[in-house]
């Protein structure tokens, strides 16, 4: 399906929702709940808040549908709403965001992970589980960029639109996040537990 065709489908779906078709809204939720949950689950550590925030995101999207002008892809808009809903939540909780670390002076080693803990090593069973655990310790923006790029297959441009960052910054953050993740994993696990 090309981009225009996808936009046409989204437009038709949104028009149905706007005339009161709740089935169409259910379809909309099914289509985008994966993206929303990726962002929310990555940014929000508190498991009890996650579902509520996902619900808030979709309610916010529902309210905003009438004003959506298709100037960007629906997925980009959905991602942006989810991302900023999480930012607002984190600000309320006074959680420090990546921006507070200072971009230029930021050093991988300053944020690098803890020393290997044999007990933890035994708990993790596969690379994905280990990666997931370590991602949870990264700054929120790194987590989101990694997730949107690898799980949602978004381009730098789309991620930049969602997070309102320059594309170059997105790319730089992505590369740093992977380096940091790899170093942390290497510091905690033996190579044969990770790279085989």
């Amino acid at each position: 399906m090309d981009r225009d065709e996808g936009m046409d489908d989204d437009r038709a779906l949104i028009e149905k929702i706007l005339v009161g078709d709740s089935g169409a809204f259910a379809e909309f939720i099914a289509q985008y709940q994966r993206l929303v949950s990726h962002i929310v689950f990555r940014m929000i550590d508190n498991t009890t808040d996650r579902e509520d925030i996902c619900q808030d995101v979709f309610i916010g999207l529902f309210r905003g549908l009438k004003d959506f002008r298709f100037e960007s892809k629906v997925s980009t808009w959905v991602g942006r709403v989810a991302y900023y809903r999480c930012i607002n939540h984190l600000e309320k909780m006074k959680t420090p965001l990546f921006g507070d670390l200072g971009d230029e002076d930021w050093n991988l080693d300053d944020v690098a992970g803890s020393a290997p803990r044999p007990d933890d090593v035994a708990e993790s069973r596969d690379v994905s589980a280990r990666v997931r655990e370590e991602i949870g310790k990264l700054p929120e923006q790194f987590r989101v960029i990694l997730t949107l790029y690898h799980l949602d297959q978004m381009s730098y441009h789309e991620i930049a639109e969602i997070m309102k960052l320059p594309e170059g910054t997105v790319k730089s953050h992505l590369f740093r996040a992977r380096k940091l993740l790899k170093r942390r994993l290497a510091a905690r696990y033996r190579p044969e537990e990770l790279w085989n």
Binding site: L18, S22, E51, R63, R178, K182
Partner: protein, 171 residues
């Protein structure tokens, strides 16, 4: 073979976009250098771990619970819209009564019948029945029905628009 190993950025460029994303010299080095190929393999495993990530499941009834939160208002609007046919039916009934039924004493008899079961209100009900009998309902019934319909319509629009200002419900 070029002696400089690939940087981590070059490895990521390579994995993100293939050999065309790195300089030709670096690509040639990668093809021949086991150290760099091992480093690429490690990053590839990391990429795989990132792509295979799970644990983002929402409850199966998630969509239904979201819809429940936004649709009740729409249903309530639908209930309001029922007012129109109901009011039209009442109006039609009023016309029917006006033309085909002799209303003299009609309301008085209905209200009076309640007094059989409500001894305490007897005097009040009888007074009301007498008052209604005294009014010229034939002349006022159609006008009153129209006025009631108009009031319902105005209230419904006003109420719905107020709610719509707060939350954008089905329109």
């Amino acid at each position: 073979m070029e002696l400089n190993h690939l940087t981590e950025d070059q490895i990521q460029e390579y994995l993100d976009g293939g050999a065309k994303r790195i300089e030709q010299g670096a690509a040639e080095h990668l093809a021949a250098c086991p150290v760099c190929r091992a480093a690429v393999a490690e990053y590839r495993a990391l990429y795989q771990g990132l792509t295979d990530d799970t644990g983002f499941d929402l409850p199966p009834d998630f969509a239904a619970s979201v819809i429940r939160q936004v649709v009740p208002a729409a249903q309530s609007r639908s209930r309001f819209l029922l007012i129109y046919p109901i009011a039209a039916a009442l109006l039609a009934a009023a016309f029917g009564l006006y033309f085909f039924v002799d209303l003299a004493g009609f309301y008085g008899r209905i209200i009076g019948s309640f007094s059989l079961f409500a001894g305490f209100e007897d005097a009040v009900v009888r007074s009301l029945a007498a008052l209604l009998d005294g009014l010229n309902l034939k002349g006022n019934l159609v006008v009153a029905s129209g006025a009631i319909l108009l009031v319902f319509a105005v209230l419904e629009r006003l109420f719905f628009n107020l709610r719509r200002g707060k939350v954008m419900f089905f329109a």
